[in-house]
């Protein structure tokens, strides 16, 4: 079975900057969500991050809050999201990573979640409200089942702590580009590149930058140092603005232009991989 770590390493070996696309499960609705994912993969996304909607998403800005609450109104739940992922997994050739606040997972049961997620084809998890300290009680069960436990590092972490966390992270290291919530502000290039350097000095695990990466230009600048970029709020905004019928096309156009920038960057021999 392919692991997330294997896939992210392979991308680096191919000199391909990773493009991670986030979508909230069940938004705008279950069917449209699946179309968005397919369109993103066709447009060049390397990894799909599926957000499990939660009633109180404290790490998210207004756009993902809105997509989450709309998805909940549509009846989305963690078990339904895993069913949707299982169907998508059969169709799309890229790794699927789940991003979830902890409580829905606790309610399902950590072991049951791990088993069902692996069965659905999920290859990794990102838990934004689980601190590194609290992760110790979850990490073994999730990793043992075959899910990569992806840790987040932040500009406030400080070098020593960021490096300890980065060494523990599986699949990739999720570097938060700025102090703040998703999508509310633009990524801070200075904060992000300092953090990326710290992580690189500690581990070979690829480092991807997320939070506030909202334009192809920003993606290119961040990927000069990072191994990949994670884009969420901008995609949710594109999906939600305007007629539902065109949402997959809008998302695909945007991701294709990001892909173009990342690929142009990769042809520059000075860029680090």
């Amino acid at each position: 079975m392919k692991t997330l770590a294997g896939e992210t390493r392979a991308l680096r070996e191919q000199r391909r900057k990773a493009l991670v696309a986030y979508f909230t499960a069940g938004y705008p609705d279950s069917e449209a969500f699946a179309s968005l994912v397919r369109a993103a993969v066709d447009a060049g996304a390397d990894i799909i991050e599926v957000g499990i909607p939660f009633s109180d998403p404290i790490a998210d800005g207004p756009i993902i809050q809105a997509s989450s609450s709309a998805a909940l109104k549509n009846g989305m739940t963690l078990p339904l999201a895993l069913e949707t992922i299982a169907r998508l997994h059969a169709e799309v050739p890229v790794p699927l990573v789940v991003m979830s606040y902890l409580n829905p997972i606790l309610r399902l049961g950590t072991d049951a979640f791990a088993r069902d997620a692996v069965a659905a084809g999920v290859s990794g998890v990102v838990l934004p409200d689980v601190s590194f300290e609290e992760s110790h009680s979850l990490r073994p069960a999730l990793s043992h089942a075959g899910l990569a436990y992806v840790d987040l590092v932040a500009p406030t972490s400080g070098e020593a702590r960021a490096q300890v966390i980065a060494r523990a992270s599986q699949g990739f290291v999720y570097a938060v580009s700025m102090t703040g919530v998703t999508g509310a502000r633009s990524a801070s290039l200075a904060d992000a590149s300092e953090l990326v350097e710290q992580v690189r000095a500690a581990t070979d695990t690829p480092v991807y930058v997320g939070f506030g990466v909202s334009t192809p230009d920003a993606a290119r600048e961040i990927a000069r140092t990072a191994d990949g970029v994670i884009i969420g709020s901008r995609l949710m905004q594109l999906a939600g603005d305007g007629p539902a019928r065109g949402s997959a096309a809008r998302v695909a156009d945007f991701l294709a232009s990001v892909r173009h920038e990342l690929d142009a960057l990769a042809r520059d021999a000075r860029v680090v991989f």
Partner: protein
Amino acid sequence: MSRGRFGAYGGQFVPETLMPCLFELEEAYSAARSDAGFQRELDDLLVRYVGRPTPVYLAARFSASLGGGVRVYLKREDLNHTGAHKINNCVGQALLARRMNKRRLVAETGAGQHGVATATVAALFGMECTVYMGEVDIERQSPNVRRMKLLGAKVVPVSSGTRTLKDATNETIRDWVTNVRETHYIIGSTVGPHPYPTIVRDLQSVIGREARAQMLETEGRLPDDVVACVGGGSNSLGIFSAFVEDRDVQLHGVEAGGSDEGDSATLTRGRPGVLHGAYSYLLQDEHGQVSPAHSIAAGLDYPGVGPEHSFLKDEGRVAYHRVTDEEAVAAFQSLTRLEGIVPALESSHALAFVQRELGRARGERRIVLVNLSGRGDKDIDSLEKRLR
């Protein structure tokens, strides 16, 4: 077992961005506790600025109305500066913020009492202040909104979710995570990630220390029962903490039983989960989504509860009960008419429990101590509408 736990409950379930700030707060608090200068300054502010100690008052006419031999004492936190126990915590946390060189304070508020107390210490210490408040609460506690603005705070209406305390807390956390380098979050209750539940309890424990000594002085013995309302749980832990080791003293936490529209009875009707940084009892649905709470008292209208309460419940040390909106309003009217004391709707829940359960208690000299956590001026507008 990880850090900052009360049994299985508590912990630090927050985004990584905030973790270094929690370490800093823990260090600052630990240093402050062993710093005589900090204690002196805090004590001095509590006496000269807050107006402590607050009296315990024998509510003779209220007691007589219960029809038994019960003597009900009220710990008069309503007499504090700004009208509730919330200021005890805010004064201490503002001193901590100053130690950490944070010049900006943020706070969530439900009833507005914590928002007013935070705005007050911000004025006192010359700090910038932003308070998040749900739109529903802005409507039902408007006098406190005006007070906060007069004090120089920025009041940000929160329109997401249930538009009450839960969502105000979400929004405050989002502000904090964005401006963490220069901002201290004064959490208003014994909730949130470690070390907040401990810090807030410690700062509120002055209520219990005073009350215990005052009861010994007045009655020559400890009360049989200590009663307090529980939203997040700070006024109750403040008074309970002094009596936890006194095994003969019955401790009663009173939750909001609400109405047909729902309730906020987290400990009696919830199950453990994670919200706002801690593992604790939580009102949630079968898929782990947080359920909307309801209470006539904005300060109790919260689907979570402090982790130490979850521990005390499981241990059986504190008994938790429910009181409805209607019972609380009746108790509000009783105390107002019988004693000339206008209690906050939150505190009225504790009084209503006494009326319902302890009134006809046997024993000639049963002594009940109620934490009258705040005054009800803020509730007059919404009560007038309801009673009209």
